[in-house]
Protein backbone atom coordinates (compact mmCIF):
# COMPACT_ATOMS: atom_id res chain seq x y z
CA UNK A 1 0.00 0.00 0.00
CA UNK A 2 2.69 2.42 1.09
CA UNK A 3 5.03 1.33 -1.70
CA UNK A 4 2.31 1.81 -4.28
CA UNK A 5 1.64 5.28 -2.94
CA UNK A 6 5.29 6.25 -3.17
CA UNK A 7 5.39 5.14 -6.81
CA UNK A 8 2.33 7.17 -7.77
CA UNK A 9 3.71 10.20 -5.95
CA UNK A 10 6.86 10.02 -8.10
CA UNK A 11 4.96 9.80 -11.40
CA UNK A 12 4.63 13.58 -12.01
CA UNK A 13 8.38 14.09 -11.54
CA UNK A 14 9.18 11.21 -13.90
CA UNK A 15 6.77 12.68 -16.45
CA UNK A 16 8.30 16.13 -16.23
CA UNK A 17 11.78 14.68 -16.65
CA UNK A 18 10.69 12.77 -19.75
CA UNK A 19 9.24 15.94 -21.26
CA UNK A 20 12.46 17.86 -20.62
CA UNK A 21 14.61 15.14 -22.21
CA UNK A 22 12.25 14.98 -25.22
CA UNK A 23 12.43 18.78 -25.62
CA UNK A 24 16.21 18.60 -25.46
CA UNK A 25 16.16 15.83 -28.07
CA UNK A 26 13.90 17.91 -30.33
CA UNK A 27 15.95 21.07 -30.00
CA UNK A 28 19.30 19.38 -30.70
CA UNK A 29 18.22 16.84 -33.34
CA UNK A 30 15.89 19.29 -35.06
CA UNK A 31 18.84 21.60 -35.74
CA UNK A 32 17.56 24.56 -33.68
CA UNK A 33 20.91 24.69 -31.91
CA UNK A 34 24.09 23.46 -33.66
CA UNK A 35 25.12 20.10 -32.24
CA UNK A 36 28.67 21.24 -31.34
CA UNK A 37 27.09 23.69 -28.86
CA UNK A 38 24.31 21.45 -27.57
CA UNK A 39 24.90 17.74 -28.09
CA UNK A 40 21.78 15.60 -28.28
CA UNK A 41 20.96 13.12 -25.52
CA UNK A 42 21.95 10.37 -27.91
CA UNK A 43 25.41 11.85 -28.40
CA UNK A 44 25.78 12.29 -24.64
CA UNK A 45 24.87 8.66 -24.09
CA UNK A 46 27.39 7.60 -26.70
CA UNK A 47 30.12 9.68 -25.04
CA UNK A 48 29.10 8.21 -21.71
CA UNK A 49 29.46 4.68 -23.07
CA UNK A 50 32.72 5.37 -24.87
CA UNK A 51 34.40 7.01 -21.89
CA UNK A 52 32.78 4.83 -19.25
CA UNK A 53 35.97 3.24 -17.86
CA UNK A 54 37.73 6.63 -17.50
CA UNK A 55 34.62 8.28 -16.09
CA UNK A 56 34.07 5.53 -13.55
CA UNK A 57 37.68 5.61 -12.43
CA UNK A 58 37.52 9.38 -11.94
CA UNK A 59 34.13 9.12 -10.30
CA UNK A 60 35.65 6.69 -7.81
CA UNK A 61 38.32 9.23 -6.88
CA UNK A 62 35.80 12.04 -6.49
CA UNK A 63 33.46 9.84 -4.47
CA UNK A 64 36.34 8.85 -2.19
CA UNK A 65 37.27 12.49 -1.60
CA UNK A 66 33.64 13.43 -0.97
CA UNK A 67 33.04 10.52 1.39
CA UNK A 68 36.27 11.06 3.33
CA UNK A 69 35.63 14.79 3.67
CA UNK A 70 32.04 14.15 4.67
CA UNK A 71 33.07 11.59 7.29
CA UNK A 72 35.57 14.00 8.84
CA UNK A 73 32.96 16.78 8.64
CA UNK A 74 30.41 14.63 10.45
CA UNK A 75 32.88 13.64 13.16
CA UNK A 76 33.98 17.24 13.71
CA UNK A 77 30.39 18.53 13.71
CA UNK A 78 29.32 15.87 16.20
CA UNK A 79 32.19 16.69 18.54
CA UNK A 80 31.84 20.48 18.32
CA UNK A 81 28.03 20.67 18.39
CA UNK A 82 27.90 18.32 21.37
CA UNK A 83 30.54 20.32 23.23
CA UNK A 84 28.73 23.57 22.38
CA UNK A 85 25.47 22.11 23.61
CA UNK A 86 27.08 20.98 26.85
CA UNK A 87 28.96 24.21 27.55
CA UNK A 88 26.86 27.33 27.11
CA UNK A 89 29.94 29.57 27.10
CA UNK A 90 31.45 27.67 24.20
CA UNK A 91 28.18 28.04 22.31
CA UNK A 92 28.09 31.79 22.83
CA UNK A 93 31.73 32.11 21.85
CA UNK A 94 31.65 29.97 18.73
CA UNK A 95 28.19 30.19 17.20
CA UNK A 96 28.64 33.66 15.62
CA UNK A 97 32.02 32.61 14.23
CA UNK A 98 30.46 29.47 12.82
CA UNK A 99 27.88 31.57 10.98
CA UNK A 100 30.45 34.05 9.69
CA UNK A 101 32.70 31.33 8.30
CA UNK A 102 29.78 30.19 6.21
CA UNK A 103 29.74 33.47 4.28
CA UNK A 104 33.22 32.68 2.95
CA UNK A 105 32.67 31.27 -0.55
CA UNK A 106 34.05 27.78 -1.01
CA UNK A 107 35.52 28.74 -4.37
CA UNK A 108 37.60 31.43 -2.69
CA UNK A 109 39.09 28.92 -0.28
CA UNK A 110 39.93 26.24 -2.80
CA UNK A 111 42.99 27.95 -4.41
CA UNK A 112 44.40 28.72 -0.96
CA UNK A 113 44.08 25.09 0.07
CA UNK A 114 45.86 24.02 -3.11
CA UNK A 115 48.70 26.44 -2.38
CA UNK A 116 49.01 25.15 1.17
CA UNK A 117 48.52 21.46 0.57
CA UNK A 118 49.56 20.76 -3.01
CA UNK A 119 47.76 18.91 -5.77
CA UNK A 120 47.01 15.65 -3.96
CA UNK A 121 43.90 14.53 -2.18
CA UNK A 122 44.42 16.58 1.00
CA UNK A 123 43.09 19.97 -0.21
CA UNK A 124 40.02 18.28 -1.75
CA UNK A 125 39.15 16.39 1.41
CA UNK A 126 39.73 19.52 3.48
CA UNK A 127 37.42 21.60 1.32
CA UNK A 128 34.69 18.99 1.50
CA UNK A 129 35.09 18.85 5.28
CA UNK A 130 34.79 22.62 5.52
CA UNK A 131 31.64 22.79 3.39
CA UNK A 132 29.86 19.83 4.97
CA UNK A 133 30.70 20.63 8.57
CA UNK A 134 28.39 23.62 8.98
CA UNK A 135 24.99 22.22 7.94
CA UNK A 136 25.54 19.19 10.16
CA UNK A 137 26.75 21.19 13.15
CA UNK A 138 23.83 23.61 12.90
CA UNK A 139 21.21 20.89 12.47
CA UNK A 140 22.65 19.01 15.45
CA UNK A 141 22.55 22.14 17.61
CA UNK A 142 18.95 22.72 16.55
CA UNK A 143 18.17 19.09 17.28
CA UNK A 144 19.63 19.27 20.76
CA UNK A 145 17.71 22.47 21.42
CA UNK A 146 14.44 20.92 20.21
CA UNK A 147 14.47 18.35 23.03
CA UNK A 148 11.12 18.23 24.84
CA UNK A 149 11.69 20.10 28.09
CA UNK A 150 8.96 18.20 29.91
CA UNK A 151 10.60 14.91 28.93
CA UNK A 152 13.94 16.20 30.23
CA UNK A 153 12.23 17.10 33.54
CA UNK A 154 10.70 13.64 33.68
CA UNK A 155 14.11 12.04 33.28
CA UNK A 156 15.54 14.36 35.92
CA UNK A 157 12.73 13.35 38.25
CA UNK A 158 13.83 9.74 37.73
CA UNK A 159 17.22 10.84 39.02
CA UNK A 160 18.94 10.83 35.62
CA UNK A 161 22.38 12.40 35.32
CA UNK A 162 23.24 14.89 32.57
CA UNK A 163 24.98 12.12 30.68
CA UNK A 164 21.93 9.86 30.93
CA UNK A 165 19.64 12.64 29.75
CA UNK A 166 21.95 13.16 26.79
CA UNK A 167 22.09 9.48 25.89
CA UNK A 168 18.44 8.60 26.38
CA UNK A 169 16.82 11.83 25.25
CA UNK A 170 18.85 14.64 23.70
CA UNK A 171 20.95 12.66 21.28
CA UNK A 172 18.11 10.48 19.91
CA UNK A 173 15.89 13.59 19.66
CA UNK A 174 18.58 15.29 17.58
CA UNK A 175 19.02 12.35 15.20
CA UNK A 176 16.27 13.35 12.76
CA UNK A 177 17.71 16.85 12.52
CA UNK A 178 21.18 15.40 12.13
CA UNK A 179 20.13 13.33 9.12
CA UNK A 180 18.42 16.29 7.48
CA UNK A 181 21.70 18.18 7.77
CA UNK A 182 23.66 15.18 6.55
CA UNK A 183 21.49 14.94 3.43
CA UNK A 184 22.21 18.54 2.50
CA UNK A 185 25.88 18.02 3.25
CA UNK A 186 26.07 14.90 1.11
CA UNK A 187 25.09 16.89 -1.97
CA UNK A 188 27.53 19.68 -1.06
CA UNK A 189 30.28 17.12 -0.64
CA UNK A 190 30.40 16.04 -4.28
CA UNK A 191 30.20 19.59 -5.59
CA UNK A 192 32.94 20.62 -3.16
CA UNK A 193 35.22 17.83 -4.33
CA UNK A 194 34.67 18.67 -8.03
CA UNK A 195 35.32 22.40 -7.55
CA UNK A 196 38.46 21.59 -5.66
CA UNK A 197 39.64 19.33 -8.50
CA UNK A 198 39.12 22.09 -11.08
CA UNK A 199 41.80 24.11 -9.37
CA UNK A 200 44.50 21.54 -9.67
CA UNK A 201 44.95 17.84 -9.37
CA UNK A 202 45.73 14.68 -11.28
CA UNK A 203 42.51 12.71 -11.16
CA UNK A 204 38.83 12.98 -10.39
CA UNK A 205 35.74 14.21 -12.22
CA UNK A 206 36.76 17.87 -11.85
CA UNK A 207 40.09 17.18 -13.55
CA UNK A 208 38.34 15.25 -16.31
CA UNK A 209 35.97 18.21 -16.76
CA UNK A 210 38.74 20.76 -17.21
CA UNK A 211 40.41 18.44 -19.68
CA UNK A 212 37.33 17.92 -21.91
CA UNK A 213 36.48 21.62 -21.61
CA UNK A 214 39.81 22.53 -23.18
CA UNK A 215 38.96 20.11 -26.03
CA UNK A 216 35.50 21.67 -26.48
CA UNK A 217 34.07 18.16 -26.13
CA UNK A 218 30.52 19.20 -25.22
CA UNK A 219 29.17 15.66 -25.27
CA UNK A 220 31.76 14.62 -22.71
CA UNK A 221 31.02 17.71 -20.60
CA UNK A 222 27.39 16.65 -20.45
CA UNK A 223 28.38 13.08 -19.73
CA UNK A 224 30.49 14.09 -16.75
CA UNK A 225 27.67 16.31 -15.42
CA UNK A 226 25.38 13.28 -15.51
CA UNK A 227 27.97 11.28 -13.60
CA UNK A 228 28.26 14.02 -10.96
CA UNK A 229 24.49 13.98 -10.54
CA UNK A 230 24.57 10.20 -10.23
CA UNK A 231 27.33 10.28 -7.60
CA UNK A 232 25.47 12.93 -5.58
CA UNK A 233 22.24 10.96 -5.73
CA UNK A 234 24.10 7.83 -4.68
CA UNK A 235 25.50 9.58 -1.62
CA UNK A 236 22.09 11.05 -0.74
CA UNK A 237 20.45 7.64 -1.12
CA UNK A 238 23.06 6.22 1.21
CA UNK A 239 22.11 8.85 3.80
CA UNK A 240 18.45 7.90 3.44
CA UNK A 241 19.25 4.22 3.98
CA UNK A 242 21.34 5.07 7.05
CA UNK A 243 18.54 7.24 8.40
CA UNK A 244 16.01 4.42 8.08
CA UNK A 245 18.37 2.10 9.94
CA UNK A 246 19.17 4.61 12.68
CA UNK A 247 15.66 6.05 13.16
CA UNK A 248 13.24 3.13 12.62
CA UNK A 249 10.50 4.90 14.60
CA UNK A 250 10.14 7.65 12.00
CA UNK A 251 8.28 5.29 9.67
CA UNK A 252 5.44 4.94 12.17
CA UNK A 253 5.24 8.63 12.97
CA UNK A 254 4.61 9.34 9.31
CA UNK A 255 1.82 6.78 9.14
CA UNK A 256 0.19 8.39 12.14
CA UNK A 257 0.25 11.79 10.48
CA UNK A 258 -1.32 10.43 7.29
CA UNK A 259 -4.28 8.93 9.13
Amino acid sequence: MKRQQSITSKLPAAGALTVIVLLWLGVSEGGLVPSFLLPSPVQVCRALAADAPVLLENAGVTLLEAALGLAIGVAAALALATAMHRFRLLYRALYPILVITQTIPTIALAPLLVLWMGFGMAPKVTLVTLTTFFPIAVSLLEGYASTDKAAADLLRSMGASRRQIFLHLEFPSALSHFFSGLRVSASYAVVGAVISEWLGGFEGLGVYMTRVKKAYAFDKMFAVILIIVAVSLLLMALVTVLRRKACPWEAFEKIERND
Binding site: D148, A151, D153, S157, M158, G159, L169, W249, E256
Partner: protein, 251 residues
Protein backbone atom coordinates in the same frame (compact mmCIF):
# COMPACT_ATOMS: atom_id res chain seq x y z
CA UNK B 1 10.07 2.30 57.58
CA UNK B 2 6.51 2.05 56.36
CA UNK B 3 5.11 1.46 59.83
CA UNK B 4 1.56 2.51 60.53
CA UNK B 5 2.19 5.86 62.17
CA UNK B 6 4.64 7.37 59.67
CA UNK B 7 2.89 8.86 56.61
CA UNK B 8 4.11 7.56 53.25
CA UNK B 9 4.23 11.07 51.84
CA UNK B 10 4.19 14.23 53.84
CA UNK B 11 4.49 17.84 52.75
CA UNK B 12 5.14 20.33 55.52
CA UNK B 13 4.28 24.00 55.04
CA UNK B 14 5.57 24.23 51.48
CA UNK B 15 5.85 27.73 50.05
CA UNK B 16 7.39 28.93 46.84
CA UNK B 17 7.54 32.28 45.13
CA UNK B 18 9.04 33.45 41.87
CA UNK B 19 10.39 36.98 41.53
CA UNK B 20 8.41 38.26 44.47
CA UNK B 21 5.12 36.59 43.56
CA UNK B 22 4.02 33.84 45.91
CA UNK B 23 2.64 30.90 43.96
CA UNK B 24 1.84 28.49 46.76
CA UNK B 25 1.70 29.15 50.45
CA UNK B 26 1.97 26.84 53.44
CA UNK B 27 0.76 23.72 51.76
CA UNK B 28 0.69 20.72 54.05
CA UNK B 29 -0.41 17.29 52.99
CA UNK B 30 -0.17 13.88 54.52
CA UNK B 31 -0.83 10.59 52.73
CA UNK B 32 -1.02 7.24 54.50
CA UNK B 33 0.41 4.21 52.78
CA UNK B 34 -1.92 3.00 50.05
CA UNK B 35 -4.08 6.10 50.23
CA UNK B 36 -5.29 7.89 47.13
CA UNK B 37 -5.73 11.62 47.60
CA UNK B 38 -7.08 13.85 44.88
CA UNK B 39 -5.93 17.41 44.69
CA UNK B 40 -8.69 19.30 42.98
CA UNK B 41 -6.89 22.19 41.45
CA UNK B 42 -8.26 25.32 39.89
CA UNK B 43 -5.96 26.37 37.08
CA UNK B 44 -3.46 28.96 38.21
CA UNK B 45 -3.51 27.73 41.79
CA UNK B 46 0.10 26.58 41.63
CA UNK B 47 -0.47 22.94 40.78
CA UNK B 48 2.62 22.62 38.63
CA UNK B 49 4.76 24.34 41.23
CA UNK B 50 3.55 22.01 43.96
CA UNK B 51 4.30 19.13 41.66
CA UNK B 52 7.86 20.25 40.98
CA UNK B 53 8.46 20.71 44.70
CA UNK B 54 7.16 17.26 45.61
CA UNK B 55 9.08 15.51 42.84
CA UNK B 56 12.27 17.27 43.88
CA UNK B 57 12.76 19.15 40.62
CA UNK B 58 12.68 22.42 42.56
CA UNK B 59 13.56 23.57 46.04
CA UNK B 60 10.83 25.14 48.18
CA UNK B 61 11.48 28.52 49.85
CA UNK B 62 10.26 27.03 53.09
CA UNK B 63 8.97 23.63 54.16
CA UNK B 64 9.98 20.03 53.73
CA UNK B 65 8.94 16.93 51.80
CA UNK B 66 9.15 13.62 53.64
CA UNK B 67 8.99 10.15 52.10
CA UNK B 68 8.34 7.49 54.75
CA UNK B 69 9.63 9.95 57.30
CA UNK B 70 12.83 10.68 55.42
CA UNK B 71 13.57 14.22 54.26
CA UNK B 72 13.76 14.22 50.46
CA UNK B 73 13.27 17.95 49.87
CA UNK B 74 14.76 18.91 46.51
CA UNK B 75 16.01 15.40 45.74
CA UNK B 76 14.78 14.00 42.42
CA UNK B 77 14.53 10.27 41.80
CA UNK B 78 12.41 9.52 44.89
CA UNK B 79 8.85 10.20 43.83
CA UNK B 80 7.68 9.09 40.45
CA UNK B 81 5.29 11.26 38.45
CA UNK B 82 3.15 11.21 35.39
CA UNK B 83 1.63 14.03 33.38
CA UNK B 84 -1.34 14.44 31.09
CA UNK B 85 1.14 14.24 28.22
CA UNK B 86 2.37 10.66 28.35
CA UNK B 87 5.94 11.71 27.49
CA UNK B 88 6.82 8.33 26.10
CA UNK B 89 10.05 8.83 24.18
CA UNK B 90 9.19 8.41 20.49
CA UNK B 91 12.53 6.78 19.67
CA UNK B 92 12.29 3.98 22.22
CA UNK B 93 10.17 0.87 21.93
CA UNK B 94 7.36 0.57 24.46
CA UNK B 95 9.24 -1.96 26.63
CA UNK B 96 12.34 0.27 26.72
CA UNK B 97 10.24 3.32 27.53
CA UNK B 98 8.60 1.54 30.43
CA UNK B 99 11.91 0.13 31.67
CA UNK B 100 13.65 3.51 31.51
CA UNK B 101 13.46 4.40 35.23
CA UNK B 102 15.14 1.09 36.05
CA UNK B 103 17.88 1.70 33.50
CA UNK B 104 18.41 5.22 34.89
CA UNK B 105 18.94 3.63 38.30
CA UNK B 106 21.66 1.45 36.87
CA UNK B 107 19.88 -1.79 35.96
CA UNK B 108 21.08 -3.62 32.86
CA UNK B 109 18.96 -3.06 29.76
CA UNK B 110 17.86 -6.69 29.42
CA UNK B 111 17.13 -7.15 33.11
CA UNK B 112 15.10 -3.92 33.21
CA UNK B 113 13.16 -4.95 30.12
CA UNK B 114 12.32 -8.31 31.65
CA UNK B 115 11.11 -6.75 34.87
CA UNK B 116 8.95 -4.33 32.85
CA UNK B 117 7.57 -7.11 30.67
CA UNK B 118 6.40 -9.07 33.70
CA UNK B 119 3.77 -6.35 34.27
CA UNK B 120 2.66 -5.98 30.65
CA UNK B 121 -0.31 -8.32 30.95
CA UNK B 122 -1.61 -6.67 34.12
CA UNK B 123 -1.45 -3.28 32.42
CA UNK B 124 -3.15 -4.55 29.27
CA UNK B 125 -0.05 -3.99 27.18
CA UNK B 126 0.55 -7.52 25.87
CA UNK B 127 2.09 -7.57 22.43
CA UNK B 128 3.09 -3.92 22.44
CA UNK B 129 6.63 -4.31 23.78
CA UNK B 130 8.37 -4.03 20.42
CA UNK B 131 6.15 -1.31 19.02
CA UNK B 132 6.94 2.37 19.06
CA UNK B 133 4.70 4.76 21.04
CA UNK B 134 3.39 6.27 17.78
CA UNK B 135 1.79 2.90 17.03
CA UNK B 136 -0.31 2.87 20.21
CA UNK B 137 -3.72 4.38 20.94
CA UNK B 138 -4.09 7.16 23.50
CA UNK B 139 -5.43 4.86 26.19
CA UNK B 140 -2.59 2.37 25.65
CA UNK B 141 -0.01 5.13 25.82
CA UNK B 142 -1.40 6.34 29.15
CA UNK B 143 -1.30 2.80 30.52
CA UNK B 144 2.31 2.42 29.37
CA UNK B 145 3.15 5.74 31.03
CA UNK B 146 1.42 4.55 34.21
CA UNK B 147 3.44 1.36 34.21
CA UNK B 148 6.63 3.37 33.78
CA UNK B 149 5.58 5.61 36.67
CA UNK B 150 4.83 2.59 38.81
CA UNK B 151 8.16 0.89 38.01
CA UNK B 152 10.02 4.08 38.84
CA UNK B 153 8.26 4.59 42.15
CA UNK B 154 9.30 3.76 45.65
CA UNK B 155 5.69 3.33 46.68
CA UNK B 156 4.50 6.90 46.10
CA UNK B 157 3.34 8.34 42.79
CA UNK B 158 2.15 11.77 41.66
CA UNK B 159 -0.31 11.81 38.81
CA UNK B 160 -1.07 15.14 37.18
CA UNK B 161 -4.32 14.92 35.22
CA UNK B 162 -3.20 11.59 33.77
CA UNK B 163 -6.47 10.88 31.97
CA UNK B 164 -7.66 14.34 31.04
CA UNK B 165 -6.54 14.10 27.42
CA UNK B 166 -8.62 10.97 26.82
CA UNK B 167 -12.11 10.97 25.36
CA UNK B 168 -15.03 10.24 27.71
CA UNK B 169 -15.42 6.55 26.81
CA UNK B 170 -11.72 5.73 26.97
CA UNK B 171 -11.59 7.63 30.24
CA UNK B 172 -14.40 5.54 31.72
CA UNK B 173 -12.67 2.39 30.58
CA UNK B 174 -9.38 3.43 32.09
CA UNK B 175 -11.06 4.46 35.37
CA UNK B 176 -12.55 1.01 35.71
CA UNK B 177 -9.21 -0.62 35.00
CA UNK B 178 -7.31 1.82 37.19
CA UNK B 179 -9.46 1.22 40.26
CA UNK B 180 -8.82 -2.53 40.06
CA UNK B 181 -5.14 -1.96 39.43
CA UNK B 182 -4.59 0.48 42.28
CA UNK B 183 -5.83 -2.00 44.80
CA UNK B 184 -3.44 -4.69 43.68
CA UNK B 185 -0.40 -2.41 43.64
CA UNK B 186 -1.29 -0.63 46.90
CA UNK B 187 0.43 2.53 45.71
CA UNK B 188 0.21 5.74 47.66
CA UNK B 189 -1.08 8.23 45.12
CA UNK B 190 -1.47 11.97 44.93
CA UNK B 191 -3.75 12.56 42.00
CA UNK B 192 -4.16 16.04 40.59
CA UNK B 193 -7.26 16.70 38.53
CA UNK B 194 -9.81 19.35 37.69
CA UNK B 195 -12.45 16.72 36.96
CA UNK B 196 -14.72 16.63 40.04
CA UNK B 197 -16.36 13.32 39.04
CA UNK B 198 -12.98 11.69 38.62
CA UNK B 199 -11.88 12.98 42.04
CA UNK B 200 -14.95 11.59 43.82
CA UNK B 201 -14.88 8.29 41.96
CA UNK B 202 -11.24 7.46 42.57
CA UNK B 203 -10.09 8.95 45.84
CA UNK B 204 -10.15 8.39 49.55
CA UNK B 205 -9.87 12.09 50.17
CA UNK B 206 -10.34 15.21 48.09
CA UNK B 207 -8.28 18.33 48.85
CA UNK B 208 -9.24 21.57 47.19
CA UNK B 209 -6.33 23.72 46.06
CA UNK B 210 -7.37 27.25 45.23
CA UNK B 211 -6.63 30.93 45.62
CA UNK B 212 -3.68 33.08 44.74
CA UNK B 213 -1.27 32.17 46.23
CA UNK B 214 -2.51 28.60 46.12
CA UNK B 215 -3.53 27.05 49.41
CA UNK B 216 -5.46 23.98 50.47
CA UNK B 217 -8.81 25.51 51.32
CA UNK B 218 -10.92 22.46 52.02
CA UNK B 219 -10.69 18.73 52.58
CA UNK B 220 -13.32 16.05 52.23
CA UNK B 221 -13.28 12.31 52.89
CA UNK B 222 -15.09 10.08 50.41
CA UNK B 223 -16.54 7.30 52.56
CA UNK B 224 -17.42 4.29 50.36
CA UNK B 225 -14.56 1.76 50.31
CA UNK B 226 -12.41 1.34 47.22
CA UNK B 227 -12.49 -0.10 44.63
CA UNK B 228 -15.83 1.42 43.75
CA UNK B 229 -18.17 0.30 41.07
CA UNK B 230 -18.69 2.72 38.19
CA UNK B 231 -22.38 2.82 39.16
CA UNK B 232 -21.30 4.75 42.26
CA UNK B 233 -20.93 7.75 39.98
CA UNK B 234 -24.70 7.72 39.40
CA UNK B 235 -25.73 7.38 43.07
CA UNK B 236 -27.33 9.97 45.34
CA UNK B 237 -24.32 9.77 47.62
CA UNK B 238 -22.04 10.69 44.73
CA UNK B 239 -24.21 13.68 43.84
CA UNK B 240 -24.15 14.85 47.45
CA UNK B 241 -20.34 14.86 47.40
CA UNK B 242 -20.39 16.68 44.10
CA UNK B 243 -22.75 19.36 45.44
CA UNK B 244 -20.56 19.80 48.47
CA UNK B 245 -17.40 20.19 46.38
CA UNK B 246 -19.05 22.62 43.99
CA UNK B 247 -20.12 24.80 46.92
CA UNK B 248 -16.54 24.69 48.26
CA UNK B 249 -15.28 25.90 44.91
CA UNK B 250 -17.67 28.87 44.87
CA UNK B 251 -15.71 32.00 45.55
Amino acid sequence: MSGGSVPALQAEELSRSYSGRTIIQNISLSLKEGELVCLLGISGAGKTTLFNLLSGLEQPDTGRVLLNGQDITGTPGQISYMLQKDLLLPHKKVADNVALPLVIRGAGKREARERALSYFAAFGLEGTQDKYPAQLSGGMRQRAALLRTFLGSRGVVLLDEPFSALDALTKREIHRWYMGMMDRLSLTTLFITHDIDEAILLSDRVCVLSGQPGQITAELTIQPPRPRDLSFSLSEEFLAYKRQILSLLEP
